[in-house]
């Protein structure tokens, strides 16, 4: 492990003193195997304690640390700096209101998630023990359950940028995850919610969400299956 000198440009915004966001450059020395989060910690702990950013698990699990590095949405805690060289820029996720520096307001994101009822709803009598699923049934939803709600996909979606009402890929993926869950009994309700101009039909299969997803979930494919399901059920 060796020390390297890097130049990091960070989009800063302090609501009390700044009228609009502006860039600030930090020239620092870090270990060459650092992650973006290590860099932010280094700046926060040793150079500028006012720098705000979210992080919690440091293990790509909690989804708090999604941000944009050199224009790409990444999880700061899992992304090594060598992907970007010795000079790079860090900004908050697009499409959300900035609260402070790299912290964005995710309330609208979670509001949309709530609209699709992101929990298992069971009408049938509960089994004595656990629900039994075949490997095929699990396979159908397996990958979509890996979502950590980091919002990188919704922030990368061009259909979301001009239209704050669009449910966005993360909420739609969650709808898919429950609609296709063999244990769930609320598929029709969820299909009705996503069958809207600002629901699944706002998705134009641009694939940005898939590119941005740190969990490599094939979001666009699942949203296409969801569209077919809506059409099957409604026509």
């Amino acid at each position: 492990m060796a020390k390297i000198d890097i130049h990091v440009n960070i989009l800063r915004y302090q609501p009390d003193s700044d009228e609009k966001p502006h860039w600030q450059e930090f020239a620092i020395s870090v270990d060459d195997d650092s992650t973006i989060l290590d860099v932010l910690n280094e700046i926060h702990w040793k150079h500028d304690g006012t720098l705000a950013y979210r992080r919690s698990c440091r293990s790509s699990i909690c989804g708090s640390c999604a941000m944009k590095v050199n224009g790409r949405n990444v999880l700061a805690c899992e992304t090594p700096i060598h992907r970007f060289g010795r000079k790079f820029k860090i900004e908050p996720l697009s499409g959300f209101q900035i609260i402070k520096d790299l912290v964005v307001d995710l309330d609208p994101f979670f509001e949309k998630l709530k609209r699709i009822k992101p929990f298992l709803i069971v009408d049938k009598p509960l089994p004595d023990k656990e629900f039994v699923q075949t490997p095929e049934q699990l396979e159908q939803i397996g990958e979509s359950t890996l979502c950590i709600l980091c919002a990188a996909c919704s922030a990368a979606c061009p259909s979301s940028w001009p239209n704050s009402e669009y449910l966005g890929p993360a909420a739609l993926l969650k709808a898919y995850r429950f609609v296709f869950d063999s244990r769930d009994d609320c598929a029709d309700d969820r299909l009705e919610i996503v069958n809207d101009k600002n629901g699944v039909w706002r998705c134009h299969t641009i694939f940005n969400c898939m590119e941005a997803c740190p969990k490599k979930i094939k979001i666009t494919e699942y949203l296409s299956r969801l569209k077919l399901k809506v059409v099957e059920n409604s026509l």
């Binding site: 009408d123 259909s159 001009p162 239209n163 009994d185 609320c186 029709d188 309700d189 299909l191 009705e192 069958n195 809207d196 101009k197 629901g199 039909w201 706002r202 134009h204 569209k227 809506v230 059409v231 059920n233 409604s234 026509l235």
Partner: protein, 124 residues
């Protein structure tokens, strides 16, 4: 749970489905177009008389008209679905929709005239 898909036609489901169906039809028509126009021509160079003869066979106006309708629907529906992302006010939506409809009808008129003209042209 009771099914309740009231807003299917306005939700975008029908437009989405028709966009896919028209894409498949366009693909088939294009294949047919390429095969009949470019590969089944018996001479090396395409001649005026040959083109006119083909244009006056019974299937030509049918094929061209199907082409015209599908291409117009597919193209304009595509443009409309892009515009819908950016137009939030009712006024602008109405204005753009009317413009697209007018363009569509004008092109349909011109296209139909051309097909009829070709079909009825006297071979010299």
């Amino acid at each position: 749970m009771e099914k309740n898909f009231k807003q299917t036609s306005r939700s975008g489901a029908v437009a989405w489905l028709l966009q896919r169906i028209s894409a498949v039809i366009l693909f088939i028509l294009l294949l047919f177009h390429f095969i009949t126009y470019h590969f089944l021509t018996r001479t090396h160079a395409v001649e005026y008389r040959q083109v006119l003869e083909r244009a006056q066979s019974w299937w030509f106006p049918l094929l061209q008209f199907a082409f015209l309708i599908t291409a117009l629907y597919h193209g304009l529906n595509g443009v409309w679905s892009v515009l819908e992302d950016y137009l939030s006010s009712r006024g602008w939506r109405l204005a753009w929709f009317s413009l697209l409809l007018t363009v569509g009808l004008a092109l349909l008129f011109v296209g139909t005239l051309t097909i009829i003209k070709l079909y009825t042209l006297k071979v010299a």
